[in-house]
């Protein structure tokens, strides 16, 4: 593995009495897409903003491309590109003008036309910022993050609040950046985003990194627990299902029962038997490998978007 491009070591950040970060540490290698996954208020944005130089940590050390964000000159700004959690631009600024203005700040810059094309903003080049849709604004924010051909790109919640189709468009853009070997740090509270885009993920909760690894490693770490989603003809009590062989935990989600099992075949046999005894019927059954959501649940006892 090459030397880390982003390093965060024991970051602590307080806002008055609230402790936002309680010793966050991780390192990101060149060309890696690294995700900070966690619920709102977990400390993801504070971490990213410290790395971007927008905030200072109360304690700890950060380095981006070997530079200290707080005490480096323009070379730090030249090296990074950022789409903030909420990028705002003046209402009466046109799309093309925004790209040209931001590009003018850097010695190395991408062609405006190429960016417009790549981000699907060609038709909107002369539109005022206030006339753009949420998705278009977000695409412009991503384009602005790339005007200077940065080595490191910070994307803070790049798809928050966007509808699924626009979200998928943004995923495609990020996947392209991944192919270009850009080092990307993204924060998200969408599991599928982290699973689909990230090489490695740090799960953050209450200002701590509670798990770190590739999505696969994290899932394996869950002790080989598999999720069995079942729908029954008649309601069951959780207690009974969690007593079934191999089941470590049982949860209800709307009409479904989620059984977390370490021994799937035995659990299924026990389930069918139990249902027969109870004169109940199986409507549907789905076996799935654990997702990061399950890992988060297992680690914190809460769902990501509780």
């Amino acid at each position: 593995m090459s030397a880390p491009v982003i390093e965060a070591e024991n970051l602590i950040k307080r806002y008055g009495d609230v402790i936002a970060l309680r010793g966050v540490s991780f390192a990101v290698s060149e060309g890696e897409v690294f995700g900070l996954l966690g619920p709102n208020g977990a400390g993801k944005t504070s971490t990213v903003e410290i790395l971007e130089g927008l905030r200072t940590a109360d304690a700890g050390r950060v380095s981006v491309c070997g530079l200290d964000p707080q005490h480096s000159g323009p070379e730090f700004k030249y090296a990074i590109g950022a789409a903030l959690q909420s990028t705002a631009l003046p209402d009466k600024m046109r799309v093309r003008e925004a790209l040209e203005l931001f590009a003018s700040f850097y010695p190395r810059r991408r062609d405006t036309e190429e960016l417009l094309k790549r981000f699907g903003l060609e038709d909107k080049r002369n539109a005022f910022y206030s006339h753009l849709s949420g998705g278009q604004k977000q695409r412009l924010a991503l384009a602005l993050a790339l005007v200077n051909e940065p080595r490191v790109v910070f994307l803070d919640e790049p798809t928050a609040g966007l509808d699924p189709q626009v979200r998928r468009e943004i995923y495609d853009i990020i996947e392209e950046l991944k192919k270009e070997k850009k080092t990307i740090l993204l924060t998200t509270h969408y599991i599928e985003e982290a699973e689909r885009l990230c090489d490695r993920v740090a799960i953050v909760d209450h200002g701590n990194v509670i798990a770190l690894g590739t999505p696969r490693e994290l899932k394996e770490r869950s002790g080989g627990v598999t999720r069995i989603t079942v729908r029954l003809a008649k309601p069951e009590t959780n207690g009974a299902l969690s007593m079934l062989e191999g089941v470590s935990e049982c949860r209800t989600e709307v009409d479904d029962y989620l059984l977390y099992s370490t021994r799937v075949p035995r659990t299924i046999v026990a389930l069918v038997k139990h249902l027969e005894e109870q004169d109940n019927e199986l409507v549907s059954l789905e076996i799935s490998a654990p997702t990061l959501e399950d890992i988060f649940l297992e680690l914190t006892g809460r769902r990501l978007r509780d």
Binding site: E52, G53, L54, P74, K77, Y78, I80, A82, L84, S86, T87, A88, L89, P90, K92, M93, E97, L101, F102, S104, F105, Y106, L144
Partner: protein, 296 residues
């Protein structure tokens, strides 16, 4: 420097698209010219230079509002934060406010001269170099004073209120709207400490007595001195984030920008002739207008 220029161009574009900005920067001063020269001056062409001087001063003073309020709005809306992750520094951001204000003010000054000449038939042009230097120093000074208010206020609302209060002092107590000799003595003495009084006074000297830059030295030095202090303090106090509040001591620092005018005011009170000039100007307007007025 390069950042300042590209930001300046961008902010000028935004200002030109802002109807409120155009109204207050262009329409209002021109309306004042028509009211002063057309109504108060009764179309008497010899009094037009007096009124034009006041309108020019008003236009330059208007840069106090100018783009500093835009900067507060940018901060409040989180726009400045985005610029913070670029190589743009506070200096470039502040300088772009002043330069765009200046570039946008020059054509308005020209339009006002044009209207005074062609509509109100003003005969002379005053000392154009003197006026140019006053417009330049005045814009630097008043735009910087606006920036310093922006640097210590925490919201648009607060900025608007403080700006209004200061603006009314500038507008009504400097001789720009109400002639100084009509104001009570203590108000006239207070006017000695107002930056706006020196701008109005300087403009009147340039328009009426053809005063050039050398004879306006003290006025220009105070405006430039104040501009430099205001700019440096505003750069020190510059905030990118809406959440970062201005510390209390910042307001003390901000107040230091008026030091040149306090010193000038003390000197003016003891040795100056601004009030004497104001009285003479006022009397000569009355005389000029009176000569044309019918007997009652």
């Amino acid at each position: 420097m390069r950042h300042t220029w590209t930001l300046t161009v961008s902010r000028m574009r935004l200002a030109m698209r802002n109807r409120a900005f155009l109204f207050f920067s262009l329409i209002v001063p021109i309306a004042f010219l028509f009211i002063y020269a057309g109504i108060f001056g009764r179309g008497i062409r010899q009094v037009v230079p007096y009124f034009l001087a006041e309108v020019l001063a008003l236009t330059v003073m208007g840069t106090f509002w100018g783009l500093s309020v835009q900067l507060v709005m940018f901060r409040e809306q989180g726009i400045l934060r985005r610029f913070r992750v670029t190589p743009v520094g506070p200096g470039a951001m502040l300088a772009s406010s002043i330069v765009s204000n200046y570039v946008l003010t020059l054509p308005i000054i020209v339009i006002e001269f044009f209207l005074a000449r062609w509509i109100f038939h003003m005969s002379g042009l005053g000392n154009l170099l003197g006026i140019f230097v006053l417009v330049t120093a005045g814009t630097l000074c008043f735009a910087s004073l606006g920036l310093i208010i922006a640097s210590v206020t925490n919201s648009m609302q607060e900025t608007q209120i403080i700006n209004q209060v200061i603006w009314f002092l500038f507008l009504f107590l400097s001789g720009a709207s109400i002639p100084l000799p009509l104001l009570p003595g203590f108000v006239q003495r207070f006017a000695d400490y107002l930056p706006a009084s020196y701008l109005v006074g300087g403009m009147l000297r340039s328009m009426i007595d053809n005063a050039g830059p050398t004879s306006l030295g003290v006025y220009l030095a105070s405006m430039l001195g104040s501009a430099v202090i205001a700019f440096l303090v505003a750069a020190q106090l510059f905030r990118w984030d809406p959440e970062t509040k201005a510390p209390r001591r910042a307001k003390l620092w901000a107040a230091s920008a008026v030091i040149p005018f306090l010193l000038l005011g003390v000197w003016e009170s003891a040795h100056g002739d601004m009030r004497r000039h104001a009285l003479a100007d006022y009397n000569s307007i009355l005389k000029l207008a009176g000569a044309e007025l019918p007997e009652r």
